[in-house]
């Protein structure tokens, strides 16, 4: 009975109700859209961190981890049978040893700071994005003195396929060392920092160049069930004295996860701004119907029933606004989940530290949609409470005296 009355009241000023509903709808749509986008960005960065930087689990020596920024190659791991035994686990799909080293590159003089990765091409091709992102030439073949350059790096060095790149650096034992490499391929990952500063060489070549035969500065593990990484890392740590880092503990990802709390505050602000419209609507409704409310009270309607009546009306606006917002937000987010949002312009400036891009695939989830929908209704009801409370507290005789 009360609900029907509330429903009829909804149509007493249809335009005003619709405007209030639309503001809720826009807020809910925006929140679902933003959450799906943030999720997409996180997935994108996680994917890049896992596939291009650390794997699901990264193993280094403890000393290497401590002084990582200085590339302490002398602390590289020995890839012995004993090492492989220590890290053995049925969940491991691939074991990718790598050597990461810093060099200065340049055509006329060595002045461009770059990051070299010596990788096992045959292993990496199973999970790395690299082979699919070769835009010129070919992927590495393993043992020849070849190099893969990022598109921007190749441009800066004025090198193309078949040209020679000279690398001068220091071995793990601080001896000056160098090598001539043939440019075999040029890649474009769409991540500014990586396309501009990174090159890949075969592990065998890196071992020879850096005096690290049979060693690797880090070993990336790819796991069958990535969510198990924390547990597997714990198990490997327990039976070895290596620094074992699951991707969930990666500094970049931990930092980005910590920013999610800030976004929650942002969502709340959007919703509160939107709900100020409904609060305003409820104030006007109460003001307009003071005599009517007084009359209802005079004929015996109790405070609780008045509260339910007015809350019902606000609830209908909140429900319809949230529902339409959830539907539109979901449609938009799911469309972008499959088609992606091209952010190549922004990702070109992405640093090595936060490797995102170039296409962000949104990641809406049923949890995001349902919680945002419920959140929308709850906040609507909450902000309506204050004006409604005023109406409920009104004495019938005072309400009847008002001249609106």
């Amino acid at each position: 009975m009360l609900l029907r009355l509330a429903y009829r009241n909804f149509f007493r000023n249809t335009r005003r109700s619709i405007i209030s509903g639309i503001s809720i709808m826009i807020a809910i749509m925006l929140i679902i859209f933003t959450q799906s986008y943030i999720n997409g960005v996180m997935n994108n960065i996680t994917d890049n961190v896992v596939k291009l930087i650390s794997g699901h689990i990264r193993i280094t020596s403890r000393e290497y981890e401590r002084r990582e920024r200085l590339f302490p190659l002398s602390e590289a791991i020995y890839l012995t049978e004993e090492f492989y035994q220590k890290i053995k686990h049925e969940q491991i799909l691939y074991i990718a040893p790598r050597i990461r080293f810093g060099v200065l590159l340049g055509q006329n003089e060595l002045s461009l700071p770059c990051l070299g990765y010596a990788i096992e091409p045959e292993i990496e091709k199973h999970f790395s994005a690299l082979p699919k992102r070769i835009i010129e030439g070919h992927y590495l073949d393993g043992s020849t003195n070849s190099v893969l350059l990022g598109r921007e790096l190749a441009k800066q060095l004025n090198l193309s396929i078949g040209d020679t790149l000279t690398i001068i650096t220091r071995t793990a034992y601080d001896s000056p060392t160098g090598i001539n490499l043939i440019v075999q391929g040029i890649f474009s990952l769409g991540i500014g920092g990586m396309d501009k500063n990174i090159f890949y060489i075969p592990l065998k070549v890196g071992e020879r160049l850096l005096d690290l035969e049979g060693r690797a500065s880090e070993v990336a593990l790819i796991i069958k069930e990535p969510k198990q990484s924390l547990k597997i890392a714990r198990e490997i740590r327990a039976k070895s004295d290596y620094a074992v880092m699951p991707y969930q503990q990666n500094v970049i990802l931990r930092y980005l996860n910590s920013t999610r709390a800030i976004f929650t505050i942002f969502y709340l602000i959007i919703l509160i701004v939107a709900c100020s419209t409904i609060a305003n609507t409820m104030i006007m409704i109460v003001y307009e119907r003071l005599r009517e409310i007084g009359m209802l009270k005079a004929i015996g309607m109790n405070n609780w029933a008045i509260l339910k009546l007015l809350l019902g009306e606000a609830g209908i606006i909140g429900f319809l606004g949230s529902l339409s917002g959830a539907i539109l937000g979901s449609l938009l987010s799911y469309w972008l989940k499959y088609h992606g949002l091209d952010l190549s312009v922004a990702s070109k400036t992405a640093s090595l530290d936060i490797p995102f891009g170039p296409i962000i695939y949104f990641a809406p989830t049923p949890t995001i949609i349902i919680t945002t929908f419920i959140f929308g209704i709850c906040v609507t009801l909450l902000v309506s409470l204050l004006p409604i409370y005023r109406a409920v507290k009104l004495k019938p005789i005072e309400a009847l005296k008002t001249t609106t």
Binding site: L104, D174, S175, T177, G178, D211
Partner: protein, 243 residues
Amino acid sequence: MKKTIMLFCLIVNMMLALSGIEIIDRVDNNLVANTISYTAKIQLSIDGEIRTKELIGYVQGKDKAYLEFTAPARDKDTRFLKLDNEMWIYINEVEKATKIAGHMLRQSFAGTDFSYEDVTSNQRFKEQYDIKLIGTDTIFNRVSYQLELIAKLKNVTYYRRMLWIDAEYFYPLKEELYAKSGKLMKEITISDFKKIGNKNFPTKIRMANKLRRNTYTELVLENVKLDVVIPERIFTKAYLERK
């Protein structure tokens, strides 16, 4: 007794007061030569682990230097050539000289605590710094003059140097090298020298880069020849790239 008398004479001599400029002139006369040629052993200590390298070096004036590693086998035939402000490196496998960027000359030389500039430097302090005599001090049981040098040229690597100059032989017993920010960057101690002609030339130099942890490099110079003629062809790219 004899020692005390000598020390007394020395102090009296010092009190007869050499100025900072006069002291640094004598130091410059000892350290700087028209040409220097030497063989050297470098002992690099990192966390207590010692790595030894050997090299030969030729220096002419302040603008020309040639260095070549002779041992260990891994480093053999790695060569460096400094011409004016440019530094070139030759590595056997690369088979051509590659230029090292100007700012890199202040970076570590072959992983040691010395920079490229440190090992090729042959310039008078007096040309680069304003000199201030702080006083006298006793360091490593030697009476010394303590000098403060503040850079008067813009492109000097170390803005400020504190020098403890042996009051008898006029070579630095110890040097502290500071950045403009006041941060101590390096510390040099010289524990031996050789009298060559009229110069007291340092032959055992220990450098500790204070920006690195637990490292030092000891450079022991042997077969030092000063002011001899060094063939001009040594300071050419052709010589650097020779097979």
